[in-house]
């Protein structure tokens, strides 16, 4: 049995990419993603990973190079954060439309301005509708596991779509955590060599990236939407296979102490761990609270979500991004619309919290819980509240 070792989560992520035996990596440095690219270039420089490392001049080119390597038939990886994602975003949308199964780790960081290197989810929300599979890891082990699974899911012939693994910047990327790695033999069995359906091959010429007139564009979009939705059972199947192999099972939505809970906090990513501590604390004080963690963000797991929140009175959503002048943070807005047609739907109280590295401690969850009660009592639950603003 492999043993758990303490390591920086960025190193664990790089180990997953090395074990996945990727063929090509193109990336550009940006805090807090840098440790991953640095480790990967070291692996390549030391011959521990036989891959092309393409040190591009920008993130726009990173994603463009990835399109090229992936279209050539190579297993392809990139990682970025924040401004880097914003710069490459044009090509991010194209990669999914072209069905290029690139895997990207996104070390989540706020977007400028003001410039900030710290963690929140504004970067990923920028590409919410980019057509990639998107999931959030909660700790180092999850980042390692989900990254390995991402390659297998992305390249599965029933899927063939790119995949973003979200990893909170600093609070995950830069912390040392106990992680259990897998040996190469186990990984090779789980994740065989990539076999593309189509590749750029002179003996079998294909045209990739043709343009569509109005009479066909809608059809391509419908096909793309259906393909993304159809990936969900495959994602679950592969997560199950991984669970059988390692004993670590993952599901699109996970609850914690939800039994008998009247209120559930809803979180994504690294905040979920603090939220569980807060739930433990509040449970001891007799409050009927629990936690609902969204691990799979796209395709959104509606059924699982409905199951998880059925019978609950209130959802307190911790949004990590702002939708200026909109109806709520991006997560709460989606959950509200997902629940809209539902009779006896729980109330959704939205807090935008933890922007750009602002700490949200267990005590803050308690405060948000109390504030939510006040808001419900006064009938003021529409919209959102930015939590923890210093007066």
């Amino acid at each position: 049995m492999p043993k758990r070792v303490g390591m920086e989560v960025s190193i664990a992520a790089s180990e997953a990419v090395r074990l996945a035996n990727v063929d090509a990596i193109a990336a550009y440095p940006i805090t807090p993603q840098t440790h991953i690219v640095e480790h990967l270039s070291e692996f390549v420089a030391n011959g521990e990973l036989d891959a092309e490392f393409i040190p591009v001049e920008s993130e726009h080119s990173a994603m463009s190079v990835c399109c090229g390597t992936s279209a050539a038939g190579a297993r392809t990886f990139t990682c970025t954060s924040s401004q880097g994602l914003a710069l490459m975003s044009e090509i991010v949308f194209i990669a999914s439309a072209m069905q290029l199964p690139i895997v990207m780790i996104l070390a989540n960081r706020s977007l400028s301005g003001p410039l900030s290197i710290w963690n929140d989810h504004t970067d990923v929300m920028l590409v919410r509708d980019c057509g990639w599979i998107q999931c959030f890891g909660e700790n180092g082990q999850e980042i390692f596991d989900l990254t390995l699974c991402a390659f297998k899911i992305a390249e599965d012939h029933r899927v063939i779509l790119p995949f973003i693994v979200n990893m909170d910047g600093f609070i995950l990327s830069h912390v040392i955590e106990p992680v259990e790695l897998l040996d190469q033999e186990t990984v090779d069995k789980f994740l065989p060599v990539y076999k593309p359906v189509y590749r750029l091959d002179p003996d079998n010429p294909v045209t990739m990236g043709a343009f569509a007139m109005p009479d066909l564009y809608t059809e391509t979009k419908k096909a793309q939407d259906e393909r993304l939705k159809a990936s969900k059972p495959v994602i679950e199947e592969i997560w199950k296979e991984f669970g059988d192999l390692t004993g670590r099972y993952y599901s699109p939505i996970e609850t914690y102490k939800a039994e008998g809970a009247k209120t559930l906090f809803v979180t994504m990513g690294g905040f979920s761990e603090t939220a569980s501590t807060a739930v433990d604390m509040m449970r001891e004080e007799g409050e009927p609270v629990g936690l609902c963690k969204i691990r799979l963000w796209r395709p959104f797991p509606f059924e699982d979500f409905w199951k998880a929140v059925k019978g609950v009175d209130t959802l307190i959503v911790i949004d990590r991004a702002t939708s200026y002048g909109g109806p709520g943070g991006p997560v709460a807005s989606e959950l509200r619309s997902a629940l809209y047609t539902w009779e006896d739907a729980p109330k959704v109280v939205d807090f935008i919290a933890g922007l750009a590295g602002r700490d949200v401690a267990p005590g803050d969850y308690k405060k948000m819980y109390q504030r939510a009660q006040q808001r419900i009592a006064s009938g003021d639950i529409a919209g959102y509240e930015i939590y923890g603003v210093r007066e």
């Binding site: 090509a24 726009h60 463009s64 050539a72 194209i94 091959d201 002179p202 045209t207 043709a210 569509a212």
Partner: protein, 312 residues
């Protein structure tokens, strides 16, 4: 280059890699250049194409004009996509996943996709030293979006964003010297070409395919639609561009300049300008200004050629 002024269809390779039936305008010398590049490279070629005329005329879903593997991703990244294709093919051959053989990787873009929005990606790819060929099809404006000026539009040309008005004579800046920018990257091969000189063009493409590392070819591609020129004058206009010294044909091999076509007595620039509607508004003093500029640039080039000869 003994055959460049011989019209001899028999000497052309038979293979066609862009199929007839594409939607280019009548007389389009850009698509002619694409055809000649394809003939020179042959079937073992992968193309990464930028957004622009050549993409739009060749790839409306669900049809394609391409008989070689072809990928289009966006406007400004043909060089980056091609460098990814090159790296991908290389690693798969090294790992024994695809058969080892020579595959030409060609990036192609217009002057906008090269000298403006794609310059950064191109510079990155040239600097990283990928074994690929980059061809810029220079029709001296953003034609696909309706004849807007680019940094490659020549001084005095009227475009839809550099119109000739009461106070401005069309484009007010001099054409950016893209081949020189490529040379500055110390790559093994840079050349200029024009489909009015088809054998010269194809020889250069073959040379570009043979060198190890990046090669850059800048092809002046007459666009009758954007230049306000009768379609049957496209080949003539390309020859006049060379004969006036406005677009000299030359090569830079490992830093050494050589002229591909010697023009003992250059024709006046007016011969070239006067057949094109985009220069219709030019006054004699502006034509004189252009003549002086061309003389200076041409002599600069001759000096580089002479210097290269002396150094070898």
């Amino acid at each position: 280059m003994e055959n460049f002024n011989v019209y001899a269809v028999r000497l052309l390779p038979k293979g066609e890699y862009i199929a007839p039936g594409h939607r280019a305008c009548q007389g389009c010398a850009e698509v002619l250049a694409v055809r000649l590049v394809g003939k020179a490279l042959g079937r073992n070629t992968v193309i990464a194409c930028a957004t622009g005329c050549m993409e739009i005329i060749s790839s409306p879903l669900p049809t394609t004009s391409w008989r070689v593997p072809w990928i289009h991703v966006a406007f400004e990244n043909a060089a980056a996509v091609a460098s990814g294709v090159e790296a991908g093919l290389k690693v798969l051959m090294r790992k024994g996943r695809i058969p080892k053989k020579k595959i030409n990787v060609l990036a192609m873009a217009g002057d906008g996709g090269t000298s403006d929005i794609g310059l950064q990606a191109l510079s990155g790819a040239l600097e990283r030293g990928h074994n690929m060929i980059y061809v810029c099809y220079d029709n001296e404006a953003y034609m696909n979006t309706g004849i807007q000026r680019s940094s490659s539009t020549p001084f005095g040309a009227a475009t839809t964003t550099s119109p000739a008005g009461k106070v401005k004579p069309g484009q007010v800046t001099w054409k950016k010297n893209m081949p020189e920018i490529a040379v500055a990257h110390n790559i093994p091969y840079v050349a200029t070409a024009c489909p009015s000189y088809p054998f010269d063009l194809m020889e250069k493409v073959k040379k570009a395919a043979e060198v190890e590392g990046p090669a850059y070819i800048h092809i002046l591609s007459v666009c009758p639609t954007g230049w306000r020129l009768a379609p049957d004058l496209a080949i003539r206009a390309g020859r006049l561009a060379v004969e006036t010294g406005i677009f000299p044909l030359y090569e830079v091999e490992n830093g050494k300049y050589s002229l591909s076509v010697e023009i003992p007595k250059r024709r006046p620039v007016e011969d070239y300008l006067k057949i094109q509607g985009r220069f219709r508004h030019l006054t004699p003093d502006l034509i004189q200004k252009i003549q002086e500029h061309v003389d200076k640039k041409y002599n600069n080039l001759l000096a580089k050629v002479r210097f290269s000869e002396e150094m070898s």
